[in-house]
Symmetry: C2
DNA sequence: CTATAATATTAGACTCAGTCTAATAATTGA
DNA sequence: TCAATTATTAGACTGAGTCTAATATTATAG
């Protein structure tokens, strides 16, 4: 790839994220301003908003990768000629989730309560998952739309509940798929 | 009740709400400023924030009454010596929900997508319900905490899903409890 | 009737997120 | 050296929410 014309980028999502998480740990999400994050990383506020569309987007960076991986997993499962039940696809994905690879945002999910923009952006991630589940169910076991959407919503809720419960369980918790197996009723 | 001392209140939640919903219909939630709402109702911005803690709180006024009614219903059910299953308590409550008494906010729930503060405040209402359901389950059928919280979360999700689906069904939809009965998978 | 205590309303200043525009800086290639 | 291109920046703006201090309206005590 030829070096493209124009002034080279100095900023990266990672640089800003690193500065931000340090500040969040230290002073909390609300007490950390975008100006503060940007200056700590060596940039201006304007550059921050060139890189992220919001303070919350930065917060969810790693979680978004996890969500994307799960959606990819669902797509792969759907490509199978005889797709598994959604439940089993999720358990399969869960078995690959290592304790040490949980996004910082999820480990610190209690921060959500303190900030409106975090609650909203967290909810929008859950809704994204919900759409993916509804779509999977639609393709694998069509039927009454009311029931289908209810099942998708229930699955999303149980997954999130299991994940947060597992995180809360702290060190010594077993593997995630065992928690999820108990939480995913029917 | 003796008339209390001091300058009498002129503002009321209802006055502001009436002005607000007119403006929301007309110009949308985002394009309606708090200043605009307050002035339309004949007050100042400062008075608005004396009355409501946020623009979003106003949006959810009627919904909050519905949530409070449901929580009361749960408490009443719990007072019974042999409490019903949560599912049946909810179906019972749903049968009393008339089509014409659906909060404006729920009828217009698609507005949520357009505004972060609405998503967040909507989510916080759902979480409030979720806590109430978890508490009900805790008192009626104790057991594994992971399973209990998963069931509460699933119930919340299915209830919301059913409610929004019912609203979307528009005129000609049957009674809500029929929808809910299908959505609440055991 | 007047003063005062109590409460409502208000203006206005402030912080912060997010948007936008216009200026400037650093690079490539001609 | 000049133009094209892209990155970074300052700075102004809007709007939500917080806060303080001033003013208005009432009841009641004297």
């Amino acid at each position: 790839m030829v070096a493209s014309a124009g002034r080279p980028k100095r900023v990266s999502r990672e640089l800003l994220q690193e500065a931000a998480f340090e500040l969040f740990q230290h002073r909390g999400y609300r007490n950390t301003t975008v100006e503060h994050i940007a200056r700590t990383a060596g940039f201006s506020r304007a550059t921050f908003f060139n890189t992220f569309s919001s303070k919350a987007e930065l917060f969810w960076l790693e979680t978004d990768e996890l969500v994307a991986a799960l959606k990819k997993h669902l797509d792969a499962a759907l490509a199978d000629p005889a797709p598994q039940q959604l439940r089993d696809v999720l358990l399969n994905f869960a078995s690959g989730l290592e304790s040490h690879r949980i996004p910082w945002a999820l480990q610190n999910y209690r921060l959500l309560e303190a900030a409106d923009d975090l609650t909203a952006s967290g909810a929008s991630r859950a809704l994204e998952l919900n759409r993916a589940f509804a779509s999977y169910l639609h393709d694998t076991e069509p039927g009454d739309a009311v029931v289908l959407h209810a099942r998708a919503a229930a699955t999303t809720a149980m997954l999130v509940s299991a994940l947060l419960g597992w995180i809360d369980a702290g060190v010594g918790r077993g593997p995630f798929d065992e928690h999820l197996d108990r939480a995913l009723i029917h």
